[in-house]
């Protein structure tokens, strides 16, 4: 039933994109497309959510006579798929709502409208696919449509380059997954997931599968060092698409990894966990450091996606390690943390991209160095963005904190792990997680402060206008979700239980009916958290304090020029910029991560030329990994290209040579 509904929603979406090709010009089309996408998203969301809540254990399958002729397209909706369907369709619902407003002032609707619904359909199908071919087909279809959306504003040079790199990396990832399934399916092509589940591959084989799956899914999720395309491509797209790509598509990649490694590939070995943990930790820290160095708002958010993907993979790695040692409860905790973070990140990352989109729409600027003071011009957007920033910085009482708290709890369980390597890696991963959380807070103080607080640095920021009602509605729905998931996490954790049940046949104890909705992952004596109580207490204390003071002490208020240690009020230029805000952290961390190098030139006294500050940074990952590949390809191309200008006699010589060679082979063959 639910499966049918979702599939029909997908069909509607595909039909819509076909229609959109026909009439891409009029603004009516925009309204129509986003309206339909909104409705479809809502339906699918309802269906999947209901499935997850009502009949979590069950699994529905369907088969269509398309795709591989003798195989057909298999679709399957189980708890895992349902969870990710919820994530996807929540994103598509809100971004369609946002698009209703944002899409109106789209410069080239003809390049967005046809692909937007197709992109949504693609993501839904990936999650539903139940055979290797359908999975890869929809997976690559998803990449292709998102590529088209990235190329929507193709006139900027950077976007074209971003799209190019994106499509190359996407195809690379697909190739890796192709090989993965080639291994899993075996020579006579048992591509159906059921057939793959039935067979348990050998140790070496499964190791190869894990590596390939990490490359394939990781390159789409943006795992370091496969992340290079992500901060280029995500910001290039229209903002509601950026929200989808960053908030949702990366989650589809996570789904792919979980499906392959936890479901299709037999029991794990302990070192898998070590590998995944390490990658996750590195991604978490590097991602946030990259983000700190950015002053392009949307690119900063994209880099934070890398960070959060790292956090999710830390959870997954822990789950693998525990599972390998058959510590099922601990594995369930780690997996729950990871999946919960999947949901949370999709929510607040979409929210933040919506906010960035609102700013972009109002000012036409993505560069924080040109913004500032927007909280006065766009108060509601500011509130929403602030909520999102708090959530992503893992600060209570918002949802980001809960999932990271669960991850910490899982890390604290790991001393029971027998393997020495894990004993060393896990605490290190914990430190990296803590570091990335703290840095993220700093990064979002920078982002929010430079964009919304202080004084406007350019006239565009001076006279920006508050964004439209549709966008605000979309944003505040997400704000609400962030808060609810933060203060009532018990319900969400229980909703995740069937997934862990499915993948590890273990689950956390039911949380929702505990006293005062406290969440207790393991034991009350060990650790517990109650977002609701904290929220109420803080609110009460704050309000009480304010009330008492205003009531019995003074409530008089006077506006005056800023004091600023008695300096006369200087121009907004004297404010701290995003770059100067990040400077201390750059000094501390940038040295090894980016080869950051600062040069300050202060003219000697008496001379009146301006002082100069130069900052040079290098992306080591690019230098070490990608530049060499580029070099090799170019070298080979140049060398081989000389063949093009040979003489006919030379070509004849090649023919003659191959004839003689072949004859020799034949002569020797006996």
């Amino acid at each position: 039933m639910a499966l049918t509904i979702v599939l029909s929603c997908v069909a509607v979406l595909l039909g819509t994109s076909a229609l959109a090709v026909a009439g891409a010009r009029s603004s009516l089309t925009s309204f129509f497309v986003y309206g339909v996408a909104l409705a479809a998203g809502a339906c699918a969301l309802g269906a999947a959510g209901a499935m997850l809540v009502i009949a979590p254990g069950s699994a529905q399958t369907a088969q269509l006579p398309i795709g591989l002729p003798w195989l057909g397209a298999h679709f399957r909706l189980d708890a895992l798929a349902a969870l990710f369907l919820v994530v996807i369709n929540l994103g598509s619902f809100t971004s369609s709502l946002y698009g209703l407003g944002y899409g109106r002032h789209e410069s080239s609707p003809g390049r967005v409208l046809p692909f937007f619904p197709a992109f949504l359909a693609g993501m839904n199908l990936v999650v539903l696919a139940d055979d290797a071919f359908t999975f890869l087909l929809t997976w690559e279809f998803m990449s292709l449509t998102s590529w088209a959306l990235v190329m929507a504003h193709h006139r900027e040079r950077d976007n074209a380059r971003a799209g190019y790199i994106y499509l190359i990396m996407a195809s690379f990832g697909t190739l890796a997954l192709l090989l993965t399934f080639g291994l899993l399916a075996g020579p006579n092509g048992g591509y159906a997931f059921d057939a793959i589940r039935a067979t348990t591959p050998s140790a070496g084989l499964s190791a190869a599968v894990l590596t390939l799956a990490l490359i394939g899914a990781g390159s789409k999720a943006g795992l370091v060092p496969l992340h290079v395309w992500l901060p280029l491509a995500h910001p290039a797209a229209p903002s509601h698409v950026s929200a989808l790509m960053s908030g949702v598509m990366t989650k589809v990649a996570v789904y792919g990894f979980v499906r392959i490694v936890f479901d299709l590939l037999g029991p794990p070995q302990w070192w898998w966990g070590a590998v995944v943990l390490t990658l996750g930790g590195i991604s978490a820290v590097l991602g946030v450091l990259y983000a700190l160095m950015q002053h392009d708002l949307k690119r900063l958010l994209a880099y934070h996606t890398v960070e959060n993907i790292g956090i999710i993979f830390i959870g997954l790695g822990l789950a693998l390690a525990f599972r390998a040692n058959d510590m099922r409860a601990a594995a369930a905790l780690a997996l729950t943390a990871a999946l919960f973070h999947v949901f949370n990140h999709s929510v607040f990352k979409s929210l933040l991209f919506f906010g960035a989109g609102a700013v972009l729409g109002a000012t036409g600027e993505r560069d924080m160095e040109h913004l500032g003071g927007l909280i006065h011009r766009m108060p509601l957007t500011a509130i929403a963005f602030l909520a999102g920033s708090t959530a992503i910085s893992a600060l209570p009482p918002f949802n980001g904190f809960v999932s990271e708290w669960l991850t910490f709890q899982a890390i604290l369980l790991s001393p029971q792990l027998p393997q020495w390597l894990l004993k060393f890696i896990v605490p290190a991963a914990g430190a990296m997680l803590a570091l990335s959380a703290a840095l993220a807070a700093g990064c979002f103080v920078k982002a929010f402060g430079a964009t919304f607080l202080g004084r406007p640095r350019r006239s565009v920021a001076q006279n920006a206008q508050e964004t439209d009602a549709w966008s605000l509605a979309a944003m505040f729905i997400l704000v609400l979700l962030c808060l609810v998931a933060g203060i009532l996490p018990g319900y969400f954790i229980d909703a995740l239980a069937p997934v862990t049940q499915l993948l590890l046949d273990a689950r956390l104890a039911p949380q929702a009916q505990l006293r005062w909705l406290t969440i207790v992952p393991i034991a009350a004596s060990r650790s517990s958290y109650n977002g609701l109580l904290l929220f109420v207490l803080v609110a009460a204390a704050g309000w009480l304090g304010a009330y008492v003071i205003h009531r019995w002490a003074s409530h008089a208020l006077r506006r005056a020029a800023a004091w600023d240690c008695g300096f006369p009020d200087a121009r907004p230029v004297t404010q701290y910029t995003a770059g100067s805000f990040a400077q201390p952290i750059r000094r501390v961390f940038g040295g090894f991560a980016f080869r950051a190098h600062e040069q300050v030139y202060i003219p000697p006294p008496g001379q009146i030329q301006p002082a100069q500050f130069h900052l040079s940074m290098r992306d080591l990952v690019w230098d070490v990994l990608y530049a060499p590949i580029e070099g090799v390809v170019n070298f080979a191309a140049d060398r081989l290209n000389q063949v093009q200008s040979w003489t006919i006699r030379a070509y004849l010589t090649m023919v003659f040579g191959s004839v003689v060679l072949l004859l020799m082979v034949l002569a020797v063959w006996h």
């Binding site: 004849l652 023919v655 004839v659």
Partner: protein, 220 residues
Amino acid sequence: MDRLALDVAHLFAGGLVLVSFMLLYQDRMFGLLNIFALHALVVSLSVAWQAHIQSAPHLYITAGIALVVKAIIIPVALRRIIVRLGIHRTIDTVGGIGQTMLAGIGLVALSIMVMLPITAEAGTLTREDLAFSLSVILLGLLMMISRRNAVSQIIGFMSIENGLILAATAAKGMPLVVEISVAFSIVIALIVIGIFLFRIRENFDTMDVHALERFRGGQP
């Protein structure tokens, strides 16, 4: 009788290989033409002999074509082209004649080696004959790539074709031989015409195409 027939066939085939070597050895243009005429003559003789022993009259046509076209018309045409286009009378080779000859011997050895495992019951055309024709073909290829000038390259190609005709006719009862040889003659004719049209003096590559416009009274 049959024994003798085969020996004569062998004689012709071996002779053809010999003439191919002479082609490789020759480095004067007109001498090359004469030797090629001889090459064609040998082929036509062997074809005629096959026609006789196989009592397959249609092969006489092939022999005739070989004789008329390749032993007479084409050498004459080429001679006139050489004169008309003022092509050098001496042929410059890639590497010396000596190496080329050595390579040629190597090729013959190779073709014999390749043919060895073939069981003799392949019919009246024994493996030797196959080996001969194969070596003629390879020698022709070798000539095409070891000569720097168009005429000798064509001659190389035509010697390849002679080798093929030899094999084809010697393969007893092979259908369509005539058609095939006709088709081949067309190709060769076209190549020769091409040489003439495109003023290809030294090499297949260096064609003086601007002359072409004049020749055709060309459009822009």
